[in-house]
């Protein structure tokens, strides 16, 4: 609850700033040179995305957003922002990925801990440059005053909200691409119209930052309903958001033949009665990715429910098991009929 209120406040502040109302937080300016240049800025502050970085208060032109069903990353709190240069806007294309103008950026900060104890761990930026998207990871210092470029990634020990002590991995630049890639090009993953709330889309359109709210667009369920909502849409949304960036044609795991995108409706492609190809011990002794009615005999759930390297899926960005995600997918597979 506290988090959604904070997001709402941020959203108001930012919309206000964009619309030109006086705003205490809207004075800082983003460096278009840093976003669009050819270099890899060494410090996150070089971009000027934040008016107050430690509190994650965005600068003018930087708008927070949230996803209906988010990617799970060891329970990290995520603060997501979009930067649009003056005079530009997003364009909606059905329920898919919003089209971003050159010069825009997507910023995502990963944090652990509540309230005063909150620590910013890393901020990942996606920069839309003339030659394409560039993904860069920045690691926060312990003083929380600056984040510096971590091209080669890194590790640190922390305790997840679930109370598990883990070695948390900050991805290296190539690992950013291994998720953010289709047909060899870097692309954003999260900001698809179907995974953004109608309120947010409407607000952006009203502020002139989005060309139009897509009509009749599909909408992923709100993950806050995961415990009680219908299993099928929740599970398919979860797999779309957490797995399909690799498991789709042209994605990093295309050779598996598994396609977990929301829009895929071929049962075999999403894993039902599909035999493994290169799963190795990740198969866990099971014959099928998904065996209807049998979550405990389904490779997909076995790998979700593991934190062991070589078995665990996703391969990146996870050192512990997402109990909520496992529960939803378990419920869905249990309900599937032969």
């Amino acid at each position: 609850m506290r988090r959604s209120v904070a997001l709402l406040l941020l959203a108001c502040a930012s919309f206000g700033a964009v619309l030109g109302h006086a705003s205490a937080t809207g004075v800082a300016a983003v460096s278009d040179a840093a976003v669009q240049g050819e270099s890899f800025p060494r410090k996150l502050s070089d971009f000027g995305f934040f008016a107050e970085a430690a509190r994650q208060v965005p600068a003018a032109g930087v708008t927070p957003y949230a996803l209906n069903t988010p990617l799970w990353s060891d329970g990290a709190e995520k603060l997501r922002f979009i930067y649009l240069p003056q005079g530009t806007q997003l364009a909606a294309e059905g329920d898919g990925l919003l089209r971003f103008p050159v010069g825009s950026a997507i910023i995502k900060t990963f944090a652990f801990g509540e309230g005063e104890a909150r620590r910013l761990i890393e901020t990942r930026v996606l920069l839309h440059r003339a030659e394409g998207w560039v993904a860069l990871p920045y690691r926060w210092n312990s003083e929380q005053t600056e984040a510096t470029l971590a091209l080669a990634g890194g590790r640190l020990d922390l305790v997840t909200p679930a109370g598990e002590a883990i070695s948390y991995a900050i991805p290296n630049k190539n690992q950013c691409k291994s998720c953010h890639s289709k047909d060899g090009e870097v692309i954003p993953i999260g900001p698809k119209a179907r995974n953004l709330s109608q309120e947010w889309l409407g607000g952006m359109a009203a502020a002139g930052l989005l060309d139009a709210v897509p009509v009749d667009a599909d909408s992923l369920p709100d993950w806050a309903t995961h415990a009680t909502g219908p299993a099928q849409p929740l599970a398919r949304a979860y797999l779309d958001v957490n797995c399909a960036h690799c498991h789709q044609p042209g994605g990093g795991a295309s050779n598996s033949g598994l396609d977990l995108r929301w829009e895929q409706d071929d049962p075999h492609a999403i894993g039902i009665m599909k035999r493994p190809v290169a799963a190795g011990r990740g198969a866990g002794g099971h014959d099928f990715s998904i065996l209807p009615g049998q979550p405990d005999k389904s490779i997909l759930l076995y790998r979700m429910d593991s934190a062991e390297p070589g078995v665990a899926m996703p391969e990146l960005g996870k050192a512990s098991v997402d109990r909520d995600g496992v529960a939803v997918v378990r419920r869905w597979i249990s309900e599937l009929k032969d």
Binding site: K173, K177, P276, R281, G282, P309, E315, L316
Partner: protein, 399 residues
Amino acid sequence: MNRIALAAALLATAAPLAAETHVIAPGEGAQERLQEALILAEPGDEIVLEAGRFVLTDGLSLDVDGVTVRGAGMDASVLDFTGQMGAGEGLLVTSDNVTLRDFALENTKGDGIKSKGADNIVYHAIRVEWTGGPKETNGAYGIYPVESTGVLVTGSKVSGASDAGIYVGQSRDITVRGNLVQFNVAGIEIENSRNALVTGNIATRNTGGLLVFDLPGLPVMNGGNVVLRDNIMKDNDTANFAPPGNIVASVRRGTGVLVMANDGVLIEGNTLDNNPTAHVMVIAYTQPFEDARYNPHARNVVVGPNAFGRGGDDPQLDGKDMLLAAFGGALPPVLWDGLSESPESALKIASGVTGWTLNLSKVGQSLAEAQPGPLMLTPTTSWDVPEVGAPAALEARLK
């Protein structure tokens, strides 16, 4: 702009920067230093791994075209992944025209080196090893090029893979030459791939030596045009230690060559000795499938002249004792399931090649319905030798 200025500008932008060499030493911070070098490399650069042991915690990756990663030798420069905490493989390559040579990877948690969509890749004198010997918990593949055109794997050594030591999948124009694969479930596997030459390799102490598979339901289909020539498959007698659920878990201990489905496989000039189930096995894919693109039959498999030593004398087959008694103590070298899309389209043998058949009559039939008998094929005297192998430019890179 006048012409001279234009020319100068063109020169300034078009002249390639001189290729650089980045030398990486083992020791403190090796993970970050090596990964950073792999990220910042420019096409044409060489990354040199000094001799020694690089203790790594995470998978490495390379996404820059035309880079060479070179160590001081497969026993000198060792990337040690015993303490690996993340990623699905030791090294992932996703760029084209990459050369990997003269270094080792040990104890990766998943696969050893995976190259995906990485055209014209060369693996030379690479060692991938799980040092605890054959174990179900070892990674699946040692050397793992997939979805690539132009693959050369040569002079390398893989042991302990819980699936295949060298696995080439969904690729084309492939040469796998002069490698040593031992104590893997499958020594070398060519899967859903075309135009592959597998030659001069030694496959020993695996469960099965060389596998040529075509499987349904994958993005790239229609495997075939594979030549297995002048390899040695000897003493492949390690019990199958693949995790259940994987297709290779069905490989019988003691298989020299296994061809499953595929269109066009030539097996000639090989030496096969002491493979206790069968020197050569040719079968259809037997699982149910729903892929209209898929043909489960083996087609146009030719077993030419090969040197067959002792074998088939301790087969991992039901009815083993009866079979051995019927065939005089050892099964003949070639085992065929008897399944053919049309008469005689599955298997051809050269004069002097002997074998036996299960005489099955339809794909998916239970082995209990087999009616074993000697292979009664009319020997062929000539067969097509398809154009196969990696582009010559890949070989030239090693000169």
